[in-house]
Symmetry: C2
């Protein structure tokens, strides 16, 4: 294993089995946010947790503005990790932009992945009317980036509540807010631009492996219409509308998330040799 990459992306591997299960965080999140669901899979899979460079406990010295100016740098992080651990036919679980990062990684190197689990995926946050509803106007998104520059702490507080919903359990949004605040503001801003201004709609039909779409029932970041769009555009996809609300069902509704992933993993997949 390439120890430099494992240190750079703070890769932690646990569990048993012959197959890797790789968990990719969403924007501003870190690997500890998988704790409510990841340990459930340790008895059957080699669970791989990591942080993108610039987030969590990654090596900040490895950060470079050019590489991470769009999602391709984050995609390369995932592929670098796959190479370092020699992953083939892995299960990939991505949250939010992590699911788009997995989609792009699977197109670049199909052999690495057997199937994808996509929690709250969105190929494009900006409305492209009249054809596409992403949930946000261009002004909404520009305003969010402006707020990051003017008042980073205020932005983190606002966005964390909007992302998490479930206000009856304030510790959930607090965890997200703390994670946002732990990222250097300039790194967080570039990651936000790369995330919220991406348009990867044309990539969805190219996904070469089966995928489960977990769509939260009420999600202001990736609304139901977006999940349905992803399902319609992605050939081998299964769509599940959850009872869960908010954009982080793996944190707020771990039991339902685990159950739906188990059901999907129970489906036999026969893959061409490649």
């Amino acid at each position: 294993m390439n120890q430099t990459i494992l240190q750079r992306n703070n890769v932690n591997i646990s569990g048993k089995g012959n197959q890797y299960m790789i968990f990719a965080p969403g924007f501003g999140c870190n690997q500890s946010m998988w704790r409510m669901i990841a340990s459930e899979f340790e008895k059957d899979y080699r669970v791989v947790l990591f942080d993108y460079v610039g987030t969590g406990n990654s090596d900040l010295q490895a950060y470079n503005k050019e590489r991470y100016s769009d999602l391709s740098g984050y995609v390369q992080d995932v592929l670098d990790i796959c190479e370092a651990i020699d992953a083939h036919n892995a299960i990939f679980v991505g949250h939010s932009v992590g699911s788009m990062i997995g989609i792009l990684a699977s197109i670049r190197e199909p052999k690495r992945f057997e199937r994808l689990v996509l929690i709250g995926p969105s190929p494009c946050y900006e409305n492209k009317l009249p054809d596409y509803y992403g949930g946000f106007s261009k002004e909404d998104l520009t305003g969010l980036i402006d707020l990051m520059e003017k008042n980073f702490a205020g932005w983190a507080n606002y966005l964390a509540s909007a992302v998490m919903q479930n206000p009856d359990r304030p510790l959930l949004a607090a965890e997200l807010e703390i994670s946002f605040c732990s990222i250097q503001p300039d790194i967080a801003r570039l990651f936000a631009v790369a995330t919220f201004f991406a348009d990867n709609r044309k990539d969805l039909p190219l996904v070469p492996v089966p995928a489960l779409i977990l769509q939260s029932n009420e999600d202001v970041i990736a609304p139901v219409k977006v999940g349905e769009y992803v399902h319609q555009s992605m050939p081998q996809s299964t769509y599940k509308l959850m009872k869960a609300t908010g954009h982080c069902p793996h944190m707020s509704h771990p039991e339902e998330t685990i159950q739906l992933i188990h059901e999907f993993l129970g489906i036999l997949i026969v893959k061409d040799k490649s």
Copy 2:
């Protein structure tokens, strides 16, 4: 470097310089809680962050009840890391029980450490009247452990607020509470017993290196009287009563904490060759 230990304790090394600066978390804390102060030292030191086995993103497979039934297992974690990175004459910064773990490690292997920074140290939480005031009766401590068994979430919420104080900034206590809750309850309980029922008063005079004691001005976990006791018992100690309040000044009052550590590190220490 021994990669097994580095993976086991989720060791992350960053920064420049010829000297290691090792940050040891307190009970129930994880390495990300050092982020407000650790990066400040990266320009002059090789900053080492880690999680004790059983906490943070450590390898849970390496946990074993016997090893971690008292502080010696946690001390061994630190010494294993020192061996894995070949640390000599390192700066050790410990928070709360992390500072006692550093004290015991320095007695076992003096060559590893040049000096210690102790944030809120307490050699004994239980009052041993009439000679010693630790701040807690035996019933207080037993009650805290009982609460962990009966209502873990309630315990985490209660203790986090008591430890952090500074209720005007609720995100600080929330971060601590989230960290407590991320530990498996049986591991957290054994760590709590090892921490809160320890009595290491007799070890203080044996500390072979200079130490800075950072005593918070108002701290219900390690009161001022305890900090003064540590100072009186430890031969080469410097005592600073901070303006900061609460038991986590490195999180709640990072600027003052950084300044006092810088002052201490600026003092020239001539050490015998050993």
